[in-house]
C-alpha cells in the first residue's frame, strides 16, 4: 500500500476561507468539511432521519455505527443529493448548501460515495471503470472526443496499485470477487479526486485479511481526504481508531472514542441483545 497522492489544496483552502463567522461550540462552521444540522426526513410519515447534527473536520476520519435502520445510508443519500431532506442544513466545506444541488453537481464538487451494495460497472473492464471515474471533462462532446493524458494514467496506475488490482487491469469488473469489487469501488473514488469520501459498509462480505487491508488503506488516506465510514464490524472500527458517531432512530445517540461509545449506557441499551 502506497501513501496517498497529494490533492489539489483548493478545496481545503476554501474550507478555511472563513466566510461565515458562525460558531458552534468551539468549531467554526466555515472550518468544517461536512456540516449537518437539524436535518430531518420522513418516508410516508416514518422519520428515518430526525433532527440529525454532524460535523466533520477537513482531513478527519469518522466512523458511523448504529443498528440496522438507524438511518446511516439515508444520511449518505442526503449528503450526496439522492434524497432531499424535509428540514435542516447540509453544508460542504462550510459554505456550499448541498440541499440545493443534484447528485451530479454534488459529485463534481468532490464528494464521492461507495454504496452499501458494491456497484461497479460489471460489463466494463477494471481499467474502463477507472477511466469513467477519473476526474476529467464530463460533457457529452468532451467524452466523445476526449483522450487520456499522462497525468491521468499516473492516477490510474497509482489507484490500481493502492487497491491491489494491478494484475486485473483488463478483467471484466463483473468477474471480480466481492472483496475486489469493493476495492475497485474505493479505487474509483481515489481517481475521482474526491475531497470527501463516504463509505457505506466497505468491508461487508470481506475476509478478515481483506478487512485488515482495507483498514490500512483507509488510514493512509486519512488526513489527505475527509472520510466518513459506516460500518458494523466493531473490530474494523477499532482498527480505524477514529472518532465514532452512534446513530439511532435517525439521530445521534452518542459520540466519542470507541471505548467511550462502547461504555455509554444508552448505546449498550440500544445494542442490548445483539
Amino acid at each position: 500500500m502506497r501513501p496517498a497522492m497529494p490533492l489539489p489544496s483548493v478545496l481545503v483552502e476554501n474550507a478555511t476561507a472563513g466566510l461565515a463567522p458562525e460558531v458552534v461550540g468551539k468549531v467554526r462552521v466555515s472550518d468544517t468539511q461536512l456540516y449537518l444540522d437539524g436535518v430531518s426526513v420522513s418516508f410516508d410519515g416514518f422519520r428515518a432521519i430526525n433532527n440529525l447534527a454532524l460535523m466533520v473536520a477537513p482531513g478527519e476520519l469518522r466512523t458511523i455505527i448504529g443498528p440496522n435502520g438507524a438511518g446511516k445510508t439515508t444520511m449518505m443519500d442526503i449528503i450526496t443529493g439522492k434524497t432531499k431532506p424535509d428540514a435542516g442544513e447540509v453544508l460542504f466545506a462550510g459554505r456550499v448548501d448541498l440541499t440545493k444541488l443534484d447528485e451530479v453537481a454534488i459529485a463534481n464538487l468532490g464528494i464521492g460515495r461507495k454504496f452499501q451494495k458494491p456497484t461497479v460497472f460489471e460489463n466494463l473492464t477494471v481499467f474502463e471503470n477507472f477511466e469513467l471515474a477519473l476526474k476529467s471533462a464530463r460533457g457529452a462532446w468532451k467524452t466523445l472526443l476526449g483522450r487520456l493524458n499522462s497525468e491521468a494514467l499516473d492516477r490510474i496506475a497509482w489507484a490500481l496499485d493502492t487497491v491491489g488490482l494491478d494484475t486485473k487491469v483488463e478483467d471484466i469488473a463483473g468477474s471480480l470477487s466481492h472483496g475486489q469489487k469493493q476495492w475497485l469501488e474505493i479505487g474509483m473514488l481515489l481517481v475521482q479526486d474526491t475531497q470527501l469520501i463516504l463509505l457505506d459498509e466497505p468491508v461487508a462480505g470481506m475476509t478478515d485479511a481483506e478487512t485488515k487491508q482495507t483498514a490500512e488503506l483507509i488510514l493512509t488516506l486519512k488526513g489527505e481526504r475527509t472520510l466518513v465510514v459506516v460500518e458494523h464490524d466493531m473490530e474494523f472500527v477499532r482498527d480505524l481508531g477514529a472518532k465514532v458517531t452512534v446513530l439511532h432512530e435517525g439521530s445521534v445517540l452518542s459520540e466519542g472514542t470507541v471505548d467511550h461509545v462502547q461504555n455509554d449506557p444508552r448505546v449498550i441499551e440500544v445494542y442490548l441483545g445483539r
Binding site: V104, N108, L124, F127
Partner: protein, 388 residues
C-alpha cells in the same frame, strides 16, 4: 503495467484489421458487384440480377440504417424506444415533400405549385410549412431537423424527469401513435391517409429509371456504411463507455459526476437523425410515404429486428434488419397469413432462447467448437500418455 495502461488509453480504432477487411469486402460486393451484375449480363444470363431486386436491396439498406439507429440507443444507452418509426417517417415525409414539389405542372391537375391533394382540397396557396421544399438542400436539412428536434424535445423532458425503462417505451409509442393520428388528417396538409406519392423525379433524374434506382441503391449502401462507422466512432469513444455505464447503472453514473441526461440525449438525437436519413432514402425507392409508417406496430417491429440480430453490437442490428426483412419479403409472397406469427415467434424465441440474438448464437457456437477442439486435444494427449 505502465505500458499496458498506455496501450489501453490509446484511442480505439473504428475497426480492427479483420473488421476493415470484412467491411471493405461487403462494401465492394454491394456497391460494385451488385450493380454490375444488374447492368452487364444479358437478361437471359444466369448471372443477371433482376431489376426489381435493386430497389428491394436499397430498401433493406434503409431498414438496416434504421435498425442501427435503434441499436445505438437501445443496445448502448438502454433506451428501448418504441417510436423510431416516427423519426423514420418524418425523414421520409421531408423527402416526400421535396419530391412532391418536383412534380410541378406534371400533376393530374397541372397546378404549377400545389400538389394534387391540395388542389383537390380546394386550397388556394401553399401552406407556410411547405415553403422551401422545392430546394433539395433545404429538404435535406429538414430530413435532419424534423426528427432531430422532436427527439431533442421529447428526450429532454423524458430524461430530465428520469423517465426510464418501460415508461420510455410507452412514451415513445404514444408519440408515434399521436403522429399517426395527426398525419391521417387531411387538414394537416400532408396528404391525409394517401400520403405523398406519384413522384416524378429526384434532382432531375426520373425516379423510375433503372439508372436512378441503381444510384439510390448505391447511395443507400454508402450511407449505411458511413452511419455504421459513425456509430462505431461513438461506441468506441469514452462516451460509448459512459452510455454503457448509464445502461447498466444509471444512478451510479450520477454519483460519478456525469449527467445521464446529457449522454442519453446525445445518443437519442443522433439516433433519431440516422432514422430520419433512413426514411429519406427509403421514400424515393418505394415511391410513397403515408401515415402507416407511423403505426406503433412498425416501431415494435424495428425493436424485434434488433433483438433477433443481437443488440449492443451494431452489426447484429444490421443483420437483424436485413434477415427479418428478407424473410418478410419471402413470406408475404408465399404465405402472407403466417408472417405475423413468424415475427411474434421470432421475438419470443429471441427473448427466451437466444437473448443475444443471432450474433450471440454464433459466438456461443464458436465457443462450443473451441471447447470441443480443446477436449479433443486433451483426449489425444491422454491417449498418447496411455500408449507410452
Amino acid at each position: 503495467m505502465r505500458n499496458q495502461l498506455e496501450t489501453l488509453a490509446k484511442p480505439r480504432p473504428l475497426l480492427d484489421r479483420k473488421g476493415w477487411a470484412a467491411f471493405l469486402a461487403i462494401g465492394f460486393v454491394l456497391i460494385v458487384l451488385v450493380p454490375l451484375l444488374n447492368i452487364l449480363p444479358g437478361r437471359g444470363s444466369a448471372l443477371h440480377l433482376s431489376d426489381y431486386l435493386i430497389p428491394l436491396l436499397g430498401k433493406y439498406a434503409c431498414y438496416a440504417i434504421l435498425a442501427l439507429s435503434l441499436d445505438l440507443v437501445w443496445g448502448y444507452a438502454g433506451i428501448l424506444s418504441l417510436g423510431h418509426g416516427a423519426f423514420f417517417a418524418l425523414g421520409g415525409y421531408a423527402m416526400g415533400m421535396y419530391l412532391m414539389r418536383q412534380i410541378g405542372t406534371r400533376g393530374v391537375y397541372g397546378h404549377p405549385e400545389l400538389p394534387d391533394f391540395m388542389v383537390f382540397l380546394n386550397w388556394k396557396e401553399l401552406p407556410w410549412y411547405w415553403q422551401g421544399f422545392d430546394s433539395f438542400p433545404f429538404a435535406m436539412l429538414m430530413v435532419l431537423l424534423a426528427p432531430g428536434i422532436l427527439a431533442l424535445v421529447l428526450g429532454w423532458f423524458a430524461f430530465r424527469s428520469r423517465v426510464t425503462g418501460v415508461y420510455i417505451s410507452i412514451v415513445t409509442q404514444a408519440m408515434t401513435f399521436a403522429l399517426l393520428l395527426a398525419f391521417f388528417r387531411n387538414d394537416m396538409g400532408f396528404g391525409g391517409n394517401n400520403g405523398l406519392t406519384d413522384f416524378k423525379d429526384i434532382l432531375g433524374f426520373p425516379i423510375q429509371a433503372p439508372s436512378t434506382r441503381i444510384g439510390l441503391y448505391v447511395v443507400s449502401v454508402i450511407v449505411l456504411g458511413l452511419c455504421f462507422l459513425l456509430c462505431r466512432f461513438v461506441t468506441q469513444s469514452k462516451l460509448g463507455r459512459v452510455l454503457l455505464a448509464v445502461r447498466d447503472a444509471e444512478s451510479r453514473v450520477r454519483f460519478l459526476g456525469y449527467s445521464p441526461t446529457a449522454a442519453k440525449l446525445f445518443a437519442f438525437v443522433l439516433s433519431a437523425l440516422l432514422a430520419g436519413i433512413a426514411g429519406a432514402l427509403y421514400v424515393p425507392q418505394v415511391g410513397i410515404i403515408n401515415p402507416g409508417e407511423f403505426s406503433p406496430a412498425n416501431s415494435i417491429e424495428i425493436a424485434i429486428w434488433v433483438a433477433v440480430g443481437g443488440r449492443g453490437t451494431l452489426y447484429g442490428a444490421i443483420l437483424g434488419g436485413v434477415v427479418i426483412n428478407l424473410v418478410k419479403t419471402w413470406l408475404t409472397g408465399a404465405a402472407p397469413e403466417l408472417w405475423l406469427f413468424v415475427l411474434g415467434g421470432l421475438f419470443i424465441a429471441s427473448t427466451l432462447l437466444f437473448p443475444k440474438g443471432i450474433v450471440g448464437m454464433v459466438g456461443q457456437w464458436k465457443a462450443w467448437r473451441d471447447q470441443k477442439k480443446a477436449y479433443a486435444l486433451d483426449d489425444k494427449a491422454a491417449a498418447q500418455k496411455g500408449a507410452e
